[in-house]
Assembly symmetry: C2
Homo-oligomer: 238 residues x 2
Amino acid sequence: MDDFTPVRTERTFEIIANKVREQIRDGKLRTGDKLPPERELAQQFGTSRNAVREALRSLEHAGLISLHKGAHGGAFITDGDPSAVAQSMEDLMYLGGIELADVTESRLSIETAIVEIAAAKGTTADFDRLDQNIDQVEELTQARDMDAKADLNMEFHVLLAEATGNPVLVLMMRTLMDLLRSVHRPITAEDTVDIIKSRRRFMDLLRNREAAPAAAEMKDHLSRLHDLFSRSEMPNSG
Amino acid sequence: MDDFTPVRTERTFEIIANKVREQIRDGKLRTGDKLPPERELAQQFGTSRNAVREALRSLEHAGLISLHKGAHGGAFITDGDPSAVAQSMEDLMYLGGIELADVTESRLSIETAIVEIAAAKGTTADFDRLDQNIDQVEELTQARDMDAKADLNMEFHVLLAEATGNPVLVLMMRTLMDLLRSVHRPITAEDTVDIIKSRRRFMDLLRNREAAPAAAEMKDHLSRLHDLFSRSEMPNSG
DNA sequence: AATGGTCTAATGGTAGTACCAATTATATTC
DNA sequence: GAATATAATTGGTACTACCATTAGACCATT
């Protein structure tokens, strides 16, 4: 009998948070529903308002609830916004001692896979949004608004992920994009005029559901970026 | 000038949490380091202990710190435990934002990519660890210890990710594995005796750096799982 | 010598109260 | 009737006190 797993006493705020989670799982709490005020919750659970607040903090960080002040304020069940999760992943990646090349390599792999799924499952509406994004980038290029352009370029990749209809892939792509942006804001030089032509070719292939050629077109672009960043970050590697 | 973004006042606990994040990003705080006691932090930041605790709660939920009571307790920077992120994703699944099929589909894509990179970059030591894992699974199969076996099977995929040498991919794979484990503990039926043979074939290919065939072998296995889970979760879809 | 008990200090966890700040609804005034 | 002051609601912050757990030191028993 060497099955002595350490005893993990559950803290009160965890109990509270889990009760809310439970109600969400059971469908008793749904998107848009409002939790009672903190003071009332504290009374119901027979705890201090402090514990309730820590529980709410935890749920908020998980992206399950959203808090609003004022008369008709309170804690509302969200529609499952994953952006909080993306933030957490980003934090962890910094802890893991990641390098820029790790991000671009991952992006290359994942986006190639995304292209294939998007080619199979993407809707016309998805493709329209992508085309629209390219148009906007083109305008901004002439307007020389480099900062906004960089954001739109990132947005393109997220839109592409959304075309897969898979929120997990969207989540990961957003995380990678956020990482690239925060690590690496200055080098927006990725975009010459070429990229717009490349994207147009890419969209033609995508709309025709030609997964492999589309993936190749994207991969070519991303590989160049990956090589560029790999070099730029290791100046002393010969 | 219609650039009136909402003022979004940053709450004090967010300020505190972000300062800690910043120190982690800048490498001033590293795995194993200990933060000052709550009371001291409150004094340093000129805030109440309450705000500090909510900040710590947030960081804890993000998986960045781990809290220990007692004399030599405190808040310690973790090694980047992704289980918190997995927990958040699980929550989102229950809110309807994510379905099991999304997870398995993502896994399929990412792992295929991982195999190709591991085939190119993996070291002999990496491969040895994978072989060792298969051996252990084989032993446990005879011992009929299904629970431990399931854990080891998950570990296999993480080890494979580690063979890429890319911490981003490792984190993503670990997150997905944690999520699959928690959501889906009962159905460990994935593993018949076949899987061991499949894995041995896979390792042969991997050691020979035959990326495409290795990926195909893995993809075949994961596709079957994906189909299985896709069906099992939608019983009323004909 | 080894084991177990007791005390003490450190530190996170919880409770309770009071007050601030933002927001909405309502009443008041012009 | 519209603008404005007022009140009520609710999350955000502060402060204080105390509880619970842990590590270490020291002591007692065997």
